[in-house]
Symmetry: C2
Subunit: 155 residues, 2 copies
Amino acid sequence: MGTKKNDELVRAEAFVASVQQVGDGELFGIADLCREFGISPRAVRFYEDKGLLSPRRVNGARIYTRRDRARLLLILRGKAIGSSLAEIKHYLELYGQHGEGRAQQLKYAMERTGEAIRELEDRRANIDVILAELRVINASVQRQLEQRQRSRTED
Amino acid sequence: MGTKKNDELVRAEAFVASVQQVGDGELFGIADLCREFGISPRAVRFYEDKGLLSPRRVNGARIYTRRDRARLLLILRGKAIGSSLAEIKHYLELYGQHGEGRAQQLKYAMERTGEAIRELEDRRANIDVILAELRVINASVQRQLEQRQRSRTED
DNA sequence: GACTTGCTTTACGTTAACGTCAAGCATGGC
DNA sequence: GCCATGCTTGACGTTAACGTAAAGCAAGTC
């Protein structure tokens, strides 16, 4: 009963927690992340320039925590759904901690997340429309094909 | 029973038909389309440069049919879901007619639409993941707020 | 201590998707 | 005939998201 739905929820909570986590434990070099996610170092540094990441430094070299890694994953997912880095930056801010602020700020945070949710639902709705149309097309082409088959069989 | 679902299907079939329609009937100037969709003439001409539109000309001026208008709508929906104009061009090709080709071409067309469908489903899945996370965040913030309310009431 | 390997910054190049003039034709009003 | 309006085609500018050298530090190897 609702096991799949619940799995999704658990996974979502875990990921949000990993983004809000304090940066300790396992550490990564830039090459590690690039290998893991199949992206270029240039891209990772670019995201940092844009304020999406802020790894620590050891001898000038960038050191990433699990939290940074989670942030990078969010960036890539954002790109996968067609968001700009500017929009993704907003997402990252939403994923930040909201425990310290006062009521005013909490309300503001809720409005922002609400906005983001509505926008994404809207985008998904548009995808659904296109998907429905593509399925119509696909079915139509398939009917065409089946007709050919039949007229051949009738020979 | 399934009325909403059926409405979607009908609407999808109607739109696909309007894209495949022959260009006659009602005609539009570029300003009409810009007003209707809230975009700039420059953008419309740009889409034409990229091969996404090909309106007829009268005295050099562009004349758009219902079919062109439907194509433009598809372009804008494509943009709304974060697709590039190059990807949208692929969509437009998929929406084109598939009645004339031979079996080989029909099969190829089906593969392409199948690909596009899978990609969009993938994108939608990613959106769902982010949506789930945003809802987790939203709920968390709301709990924080309710706690404040309660501790105030206890005074 | 020279060399390789892996990181760094700086800077210039590139593609996409337009915005923004500038200059010219075509049509309708007066 | 003149002028405003609305269209047209260049051509150059701009922002985003990197790619692509070029040149230099830092650590480990032999």
